[in-house]
């Protein structure tokens, strides 16, 4: 049994609101859900908070939000997850619910039955969050929104700015294959959670030419809804804006042709970058199978598992993603990302900067330099001693290239 459950129950009465699951797991019967909630309530009644429980293979994490809902994540099967990973998942789930439903209504649930019906709007996004390894992006673990590095980005930025001004809003971004090509300054100001959730929201949408979705930004305006309008410029290329009550969808749709026709060629070029996700001007070592490069300050990241456009099948690519995720989780959660204990007595900080792991079929290397973090997946052919050098050179290549902004 290998899978992940996400269970939501109301806080006071313990009524199950929804249960989402992924993986080949059986449906959880009601008494089991009840018992899971019961232990949490029992602890709460005795002024303790049950945070997590683990068995040999499984892990259960509880979290209560605003005294109104309790989210429970149950992960079973092989694959080691740490508590913080599941807690992050719960936080994101809550944020997802706020995004699509609004904080006020979540805080005070008057009619549970109605709430159960209405919260179904969040299910696609939550399912996307649960998919984890199946996702083509790593945003859910890294906490940074993914983008493509394109030298044409600056050119497209002008188009975007113009369009966004016409939409009478400061928030706008341009996406290619679900990854950010460019965004307005205010868009970058959104918090990491919001950025990540919005990009995942994009993944959860079914393809359509334009849509108008009411959203509540979990950090900026959890109670005041905005409208997220997405427009498809061409296949896999979309432009998004977050607006207030005006303009309406149809109005803005008419403006698209005016603003974006001139950019068609550029957009074609940008679209071609996928799945490599960074321009040809940056050269990387032959042995690199994939990488994750994160700028922790701006919450921007670039990832790729198909660096040389080898045209591998999806199974292979999925394997690479899984390997990268595994490596990221093992290194970041347990070691590098842990709380740095500042020793007051010493002036020096003793922190982890590099780590590598050699697996039977590949090798991985992680390097942190200032705000940048790079996690590289190498084939087995690379000699171990060369990994660090290659990694650092790659990072330098990305950071120092003036044509792209990471």
């Amino acid at each position: 049994m290998d899978g992940l459950y996400l269970i939501c129950v109301t806080s006071g009465s313990g009524l199950p609101v929804f249960t989402r699951s992924v993986g080949n797991v059986k449906q959880l019967p009601f008494p089991v859900i009840g018992s899971l909630n019961a232990v949490h309530m029992f602890a709460a009644n005795h002024e303790a908070e049950l945070k997590s429980t683990a068995t040999e293979d499984a892990r259960i994490v509880w979290k209560e939000f605003h005294d109104s809902l309790v989210l429970i994540a149950v992960h079973c099967g092989n694959g080691r997850v740490v508590d913080c990973e599941l807690e992050r998942l719960l936080d994101r789930t809550w944020a997802a619910m706020v995004l699509l439903y609004g904080l006020e209504e979540l805080r005070q649930i008057r009619n549970v039955e109605r709430f159960k019906r209405e919260i179904k709007v969040c299910h696609p996004l939550i399912d996307t969050l649960l998919r984890r390894v199946e996702l083509p992006v790593f945003s859910d673990v890294t906490g940074a929104v993914e983008g493509v590095l394109a030298s044409e980005a600056t050119a497209l930025q002008n188009f975007l700015e113009a369009f966004v001004e016409a939409a009478d809003t400061p928030y706008g971004c341009l996406l290619s294959h679900g990854r950010l090509v460019g965004a307005t300054a205010k868009w970058w100001d959104l918090s990491a959670t919001e950025l990540v959730l919005l990009s995942l929201l994009g993944l959860s949408f079914s393809p359509c030419s334009c849509r108008d979705v009411p959203i509540y930004l979990p950090d900026k305006s959890p109670t005041v809804p905005h409208r997220l309008m997405t427009f498809k410029l061409m296949a896999h290329v979309e432009v998004w804006v977050i607006c207030g009550p005006t303009p309406s969808l149809s109005q803005l749709e008419m403006e698209i042709a005016r603003f974006w026709v001139a950019a068609v060629d550029t957009l074609h070029q940008v679209r071609q970058i996928h799945p490599r996700n960074f321009p040809a001007s940056i050269d990387v070592d032959n042995n690199i199978l994939g990488f994750i490069l994160i700028n922790a300050a701006t919450h921007h990241s670039v990832t790729s598992v198909d660096v040389r456009r080898e045209g591998k099948d999806s199974g292979e690519l999925r394997g690479r993603r899984e390997a990268l995720r595994e490596f990221y989780g093992s290194v970041w959660d347990s070691q590098m990302g842990g709380p740095v204990t500042e020793e007051a007595s010493t002036d020096v900080k003793h922190t982890i900067t590099d780590s590598y792991t050699v697996y039977s079929s590949h090798k991985c290397y992680a390097h942190i330099c200032g705000n940048y973090q790079i996690f590289v997946l190498f084939s087995s052919k690379i000699p171990t001693y060369a990994m660090r050098n290659v990694c650092k050179k790659t990072l330098d290549a990305f950071v120092k290239d003036k044509s792209v902004m990471i």
Partner: protein
């Protein structure tokens, strides 16, 4: 049918019978013949008695024991018997009724006795406890009281029967229920010359009965001896923290009468908060099976604004719970503690449930007090133990002790002395009667501890682990490291060895029915641990087994042999502990990261008083012995300090002296390094004298337990850990060595090192276990963490690397042959790239890290610690 016998007769009988085949000439006389037949008769009856005694004992044992505890009384009833499938089968009656038939001794009655008590005493030799002074016997209070036996007179029939004990209750005389009201009347009405049947009832017994165990410590209080605090004090300290140990059982919901019924044991007694959550623990441990198919292993709670880790251990329907706060002990370490306690209880009582039912509560309280105190890092009231910079509890589970390497001659002496004990060659001390009898015990193995180090061991691995476990959990090693332990004596039965599970043994193999005992004797700072076996080739011991005073004396004599004039074992041990010159030399992190504030700079310059002459050159700042340096690196870095160049030039001139000098701070050049060398040269003058001895003979390698620590040209060894789970030994720098290099930064570095090791090991265990299906893709071979230590202006920093290699990899890489190649492979990433200068070479310390898990046998895997200096 019992006959009255005097105890002396019995003794004589045994004594004589054993010798009767010797005294052949005495057999000639008919007197002797008659005597002999009488003796044999007595012997037979005595054997009869013994047999009955045994059956009575086993009966008592079957009935189990009860704890008379004020708070937690556990009523035994039929229903409970059914639910406790794990417990031994109990009889239906709560207590045993014994019926003894006597021929009363009417001759002693004088007819003047007024009270039934006196009559009873004279007739049967049984003294009944009188609640009052006998005057107000018929008051309401005493009316309901039972007739309890206070004592049995020696030489009377009751004593000879051996069945009546203090505490038994007289319930019936001749099948007539007796109470205080009719006691005297009944007794008076007994017909003479008739046998009287008395029925007694055994009481609920407090204390262990089925096994005899001794834990003798100075001041008769384990807590006081080991920690300097009384149990109550420790308990009150513990109740401030959120910690608890509980043994809980699942109570069927109908029996809700007594709220505390589900607690079989709880510690510390003042703990309320976690105890109130016990329903949570029980539910989690039992209900998770429905959810995920496995019982709960651990949990995390937020209590009182602090996180508490909880670990569980199932035992049928019961669960053993340990909870400790997160800020004092990590989850991994807590699991280690749980494993240790569980193993100890199973070792001593062969079953967790039996352990909690049968053991002495006070012992358990004290044991847990010591364990909690150690785990939670509370401060002992006695001479504070040196603060270990390594949090070794994280890495080392409870069955691991530090081991001490002695020189081969000393080791031989210890071995010889131990072997003498094991041979049990003490005929001279045996009594005549025992001389030709089967020996009572045989020695299975011995081991010797000095202070808290294992010096010499003749035990099998698993027995050694058990002994280590016992000593660690009880804190006896802490005791011996601090003071003389002349009063320590331990005698314990190792029940889990005595009652081995037959199903786990190969088919057709019948294990001997033997019992194992552990005897620990303390003399001065030594412990002699002896594992004895009764059964197989020695005489079987039934019922309570007591230690032979002969064995105890022999043990003490053994230990005293270690302190004769020729053999000064204590001095030798102390020497190897404190003499840091001959062992691997460590470095202090502070010396590497120099603080380049002007103030310090001047200070360091000022400290450059002792000139660095070639002969008196200190060992380099890192106190690592090194070969001649590579000067290329030095020249590349431009010194910004004139005195620096002078130092370097001087060192350059030293090079001309030949290859065989321990150059001064000849490692990778750079201002910080030489500054630190000056600082260190002032700081530890002792290293100068040491370097003198080192200088002449350049020992290029350190040896740790026979394994070579290969070194390269420049390196700094902060610490090393060799952990052999299989044997239960740990090798690390001694306390003295660690103290020399102790500093805040050092502690920080080592703390991270430990944490990293722990993390990596847990990842390895998780990944390399066979049940993991995604292994094919993600088999971890190497895992490395590279720490970088920066000070404020990034001027001086060093890097430490912590590296773990899985066992399978060693085959592929042929580690033994190509150590250097391997190190080059793994470490040269850090040479050729980045801020490190090209020509630096690295020293690798490869330490075997044995890892023996239960499911899989892994071959030794390597753990490498390595430190490298960078600009």
């Amino acid at each position: 049918m019992l006959q009255s016998q005097s105890p002396d007769d019995r003794e004589n009988a045994a004594h004589h019978w054993l010798h009767c085949h010797e005294d052949e000439e005495q057999l000639a006389s008919s007197n002797e013949l008659r005597k002999k037949t009488k003796e044999i008769q007595k012997l037979l009856t005595e054997r009869n008695q013994k047999l009955r005694q045994e059956t009575k004992d086993s009966n008592d044992h079957d009935n189990g024991l009860e704890r008379l505890s004020v708070h937690m009384e556990r009523p035994r009833g039929e229903g409970e018997n059914k639910t406790n499938a794990m417990s031994r089968p109990r009889t239906d009656r709560d207590r045993q009724f014994k019926q003894i038939t006597f021929k009363p001794n009417y001759r002693s009655l004088t007819g003047n006795e007024s009270s039934g008590v006196e009559i009873c005493k004279k007739l049967f030799g049984i003294t009944i406890f009188e609640y009052s002074n006998g005057k107000s016997r018929l008051s309401n209070m005493t009316k309901d009281r039972k007739l309890v036996v206070q004592g049995v007179l020696e030489g009377s029939e009751s004593h000879a029967s051996g069945k009546i004990h203090r505490g038994d209750m007289l319930v019936r005389i001749n099948d007539v229920s007796v109470s205080w009201l009719n006691f005297t009347k009944l007794l008076c009405s007994l017909k003479k010359r008739e046998r009287v049947k008395l029925t007694f009832q055994s009481p609920r017994i407090v204390g262990p009965k089925s096994s005899y165990s001794v834990l003798q410590v100075p001041e008769a209080d384990l807590c006081l001896a080991v920690l300097g605090k009384r149990l109550s004090h420790i308990q009150s300290e513990l109740s401030q923290l959120n910690c608890a140990a509980m043994f809980l059982t699942l109570v069927p919901s109908e029996a809700e009468s007594n709220e505390m019924e589900d607690i079989i044991y709880a510690f510390p007694p003042g703990e309320e908060r976690l105890l109130s959550l016990r329903g949570l623990f029980i539910t989690l441990s039992s209900s998770l099976v429905d959810v995920v198919g496995q019982p709960a292993a651990c949990s995390r709670l937020e209590v009182n604004n602090g996180t508490v880790n909880v670990v569980y251990r199932q035992c049928g329907k019961d669960v053993f719970v340990l909870a400790m706060p997160e800020d004092r002990i990590s989850l991994g370490a807590l699991s280690n503690v749980m494993d240790g306690l569980y193993s100890l209880l199973v070792l001593l009582h062969s079953d967790l449930k039996r352990a909690f039912n049968e053991c002495e509560r006070t012992w358990l309280d004290k044991l847990l007090a010591v364990v909690f105190h150690q785990s939670l890092g509370l401060q002992s009231a006695l001479a504070p133990l040196p603060l270990l910079p390594l949090s070794e509890t994280a890495i080392t589970p409870c069955h691991v002790v530090k081991s001490l390497q002695l020189s081969s001659e000393n080791k031989l002496i210890c071995d010889e002395i131990l072997s003498e004990t094991e041979s049990m060659d003490f005929d001279d001390y045996l009594e005549q009667k025992d001389l030709f009898a089967r020996r009572k015990y045989t020695v299975n193995g011995t081991c010797l501890f000095y202070k808290d180090y294992l010096v010499c061991s003749h035990l099998a691995e698993d027995l050694q682990r058990d002994v280590n476990l016992y000593l660690n959990c009880h804190g006896l090693l802490i005791l011996s490291s601090r003071q003389h332990v002349d009063q320590v004596m331990v005698w314990q039965e190792l029940k889990s060895r005595s009652e081995q599970d037959v199903t786990s043994l190969p088919a057709g193999y019948q294990p001997c029915d033997s019992r194992f005992f552990l005897m620990v004797i303390g003399v001065r700072n030594y412990y002699l641990c002896v594992v004895l076996e009764a059964g197989s080739c020695s005489a079987r011991v039934e019922g309570q087994a007591r230690p032979l005073s002969l064995m105890l004396d022999q043990g003490r004599a053994t230990l005293s042999q270690l302190e004769t004039r020729e053999v000064h074992m204590a001095a030798c041990c102390e020497d190897s502990l404190t003499n840091t010159a001959s062992s691997v030399s460590l470095a202090c992190a502070d010396h590497l990261v120099t603080v380049t504030t002007p103030r310090n700079r001047s200070a360091s310059r000022g400290a450059h008083r002792p000139p660095l002459t070639p002969t008196k050159s200190t060992d380099n700042a890192y106190r690592g012995r090194s070969k001649s340096r590579d000067r290329l690196a030095a020249e590349e870095d431009k010194a910004d300090d004139s005195s620096n160049t002078s130092v370097m030039r001087r060192q350059g001139s030293k090079l001309s002296y030949g290859s065989n000098d321990s150059a001064g701070s000849g490692s990778s050049a750079g201002p910080p390094k030489s500054k630190s060398s000056r600082m260190s040269s002032a700081a530890d003058v002792s290293s100068i004298t040491r370097s003198l001895s080192v200088m002449q003979i350049e020992m290029p390698h350190d040896f740790v337990r026979g394994e070579r620590l290969s070194r390269g040209r420049e390196n700094t060894l902060f610490t090393y850990v060799h952990l052999d789970f299989g044997e239960g030994v740990l090798i690390s720098p001694t306390d003295t060595e660690l103290k020399e290099v102790h500093s805040a930064l050092q502690a920080d570095v080592l703390h991270h090192f430990c944490q990293a090791c722990e993390n990596m090991r847990s990842q390895f265990i998780a990944k390399v276990s066979p049940g993991n299906l995604s292994l094919a893709l993600l088999c971890v071979l190497f895992l490395l963490l590279f720490f970088e230590c920066l000070n404020e202006d990034n001027k001086g920093h060093f890097c430490s690397v912590c590296f773990l290699m899985a066992p399978g990899a060693s085959d592929k890489i042929k580690l033994k042959k190509n150590i250097l190649k391997l190190t080059a492979d793994t470490m040269t990433p850090f040479i050729h790239a980045g801020p490190f200068s090209i020509q630096q070479s690295f020293q690798i310390h490869i330490i075997p890290f044995c890892n023996l898990t239960k499911e899989i046998q892994l071959k030794p895997s390597e753990m490498v610690t390595y430190c490298q200096r960078a600009k």
